[in-house]
Amino acid sequence: MSAGTEPSYGLTKKILRLTGRDPFALAGISIYVVFALTALLANVIAPHDPMEILFLPDGNVAMNQRPSPSYWLGTTSLGRDVFSQLVFGARSALMVGLSAALVVVVVGTLVGLFSGYFGGWVDNVLMRIGDIALSIPFLPFIIVLAAFVKPNVWNVVIGVSALLWPNTGRIVRSQVLSLRERSYVEAAKVSGASHLNILFTHIAPNVLPISFLYGSIVVGWAIFTEASISFLGFGPSDTVSWGFMLQDAFVSQALSRGAYYWFIPSGVCIMLMVSAGFFISRGYEELLFPKLRD
């Protein structure tokens, strides 16, 4: 098979080339790498256990300490180390973000593949379900979901995935619509390949790069949503996340005491992680949306 007929090679190469050239894509990927390393090495980097109540040399609880060499970002009102919480927060952020993105990419790609390839009633049913999912108010739905199940991280993953797959599905579908008319797909059909064979060996490899790029936006969205849910008090109380830290600071009067060191850093981390997704998708914009208008 000649290089021209399999666009996936060209696409992969293009992605690699753009990463080197586009400052946005480079910045986004660097942010991901830094946070991924932080999450992996959290045990080594964090000076304390994030939930441990610390004591001062004089035996008192080290509560509401300002930043100092022993507590880089100060301590919470319960005497926990803010910096250590920040480091461990990267773990739950990445876990939520990556799992939601994985589910959205898998479900969205499958739906887009079947919808675009088979068309007809399959397409109709899948796209109508997608319309419904997109018509459900995002945050309120996840809050109501939290009312019925015990607070845990997976609620957010389930909620985000359930409502965000149609976006990926639509993009993949529109790609498949044009791919299925290509000559190599025709050739495979004529040579007697089954539908599933054509879908997964000939079409799927070509849409995967786009699904994954779209997944980078979902990573940010899931982290953003997890932070909001934790802030509203529907998150798990035993896992340290950036949203949990912000809620802790908010209800412990950190604002009136002007304890900026407590609530500024975790917000900055959320902002960086979510921007990274934006930066990456923006860097590859010309790949994602060859022509923005349909």
Binding site: P140, I143, F231, L232, F263, S275, F278, L292
Partner: protein
């Protein structure tokens, strides 16, 4: 005309689906399904009357029909904790949410449209290189966190604005309009609305910028250039006017999303709106109220989606929905 009718039917279908989903969610939850409507604290007599009203003693399909019938009549039940009809509670909160959303959107879109057009104009300059990452950053910052910073600075440190609520203690008004137009209300509105506008301005800005950039390459703009019209006039009269269409559509879509999406801002600023009611209802297991608030938020979203679609068709003659895939 046929398109409008199809689109309307589609919206009704989606609304039905959301209502049904909600019915299933609230009935299939763990524990006693009746807990969704009946508080343990009620007397045996009133428990019976609520059971009869919502048909909770009947089969699931019958319950479903009765549930839809009650919804159509605007009968949403009674709140467990506030002990008032859910309808009254959500309707009292609606003006606060709508004002916050609408003013926030107006501020964000006025700024976004102008700044977006300016950045399209400055394509490739240093200004653009600095501004774009900042704008993307404001879209990535959690609204509640921005709200917390504003609160810490302007309410707690400087004392310029109240730290929460929608009215000073003891404020009384003769009518709802008088309350919404009072200086006190706007003083309370300032910080939440600023937080919301900061978060929202990125979308219209980026949208305006990219559509302007596209429009500047369209044939009619080249044509105008060839006719020797001054660049400023071309940008304002031709490109900007056409770029407004997607921005107007985005406005309608955001309006729908925000009626429920303001949850976190309303919580940070203790703003007595729909989103805060939803949060309070869910955390106190006040199911009828949670269900009512969620329903209202969904209706707003679906209605604004419909409006955005109709707006797009109406304003852009190039869109032909008969041939759309």
């Amino acid at each position: 005309m046929r398109f409008i009718l199809t689109r309307l039917l589609h919206s009704l279908f989606v609304l039905w689906a959301v209502v049904t989903l909600m019915f299933l969610m609230f009935r299939l939850m763990p524990g006693d399904p009746m807990a969704a409507y009946i508080s343990e604290a009620l007397s045996e007599e009133s428990k019976q009357s609520i059971r009869a009203q919502f048909g909770l003693d009947r089969s699931l399909p019958e319950q479903y029909l009765l549930y839809v019938y009650n919804l159509c009549r605007g009968e949403l039940g009674t709140s467990f904790f506030i002990k008032e009809p859910v309808w009254d509670i959500v309707m009292a909160a609606l003006p606060n949410t709508l004002t916050l959303t609408f003013i926030g959107l107006i501020l964000a879109y006025s700024f976004g449209v102008v700044a977006g057009a300016y950045l399209a104009w400055k394509r490739g300059s240093l200004t653009e290189g600095i501004a774009i990452p900042i704008v993307l950053g404001t879209r990535a910052a959690p609204e509640f966190w921005v709200g917390m910073i504003l609160l810490a600075i302007f309410a707690f440190n400087l004392g310029w604005f109240p730290s929460g609520g929608a009215a000073s203690p003891g404020a009384m008004y003769d009518s709802e309009w008088q309350r919404l137009l009072s200086a006190d209300f706007w003083h309370h509105l300032a910080l939440p609305v600023l937080t919301l506008a900061l978060y929202l301005q990125g979308l219209p800005l980026l949208l305006m910028r990219s559509t302007m950039l596209d429009a500047l390459h369209e044939e009619y703009v080249t044509m105008a250039r060839m006719k020797g019209l001054p660049t400023r006039r071309i940008v304002l009269n031709h490109a900007a006017r056409n770029a407004m269409l997607p921005v107007a559509t985005a406005f309608a879509l955001s309006m729908g999303q925000l009626v429920g999406g303001n949850v976190v801002i309303e919580t940070v600023f203790s703003w007595p709106g729909l989103g805060r009611i939803l949060v309070q209802a869910v955390s106190s297991s006040d199911y009828p109220l949670a269900q009512g608030a969620f329903l209202l938020v969904s209706v707003a979203l679906i209605a604004m989606n419909l409006l955005a679609d109709l707006l797009y068709t109406l304003l852009d003659p190039r869109v032909s929905h008969e041939r759309r895939h």
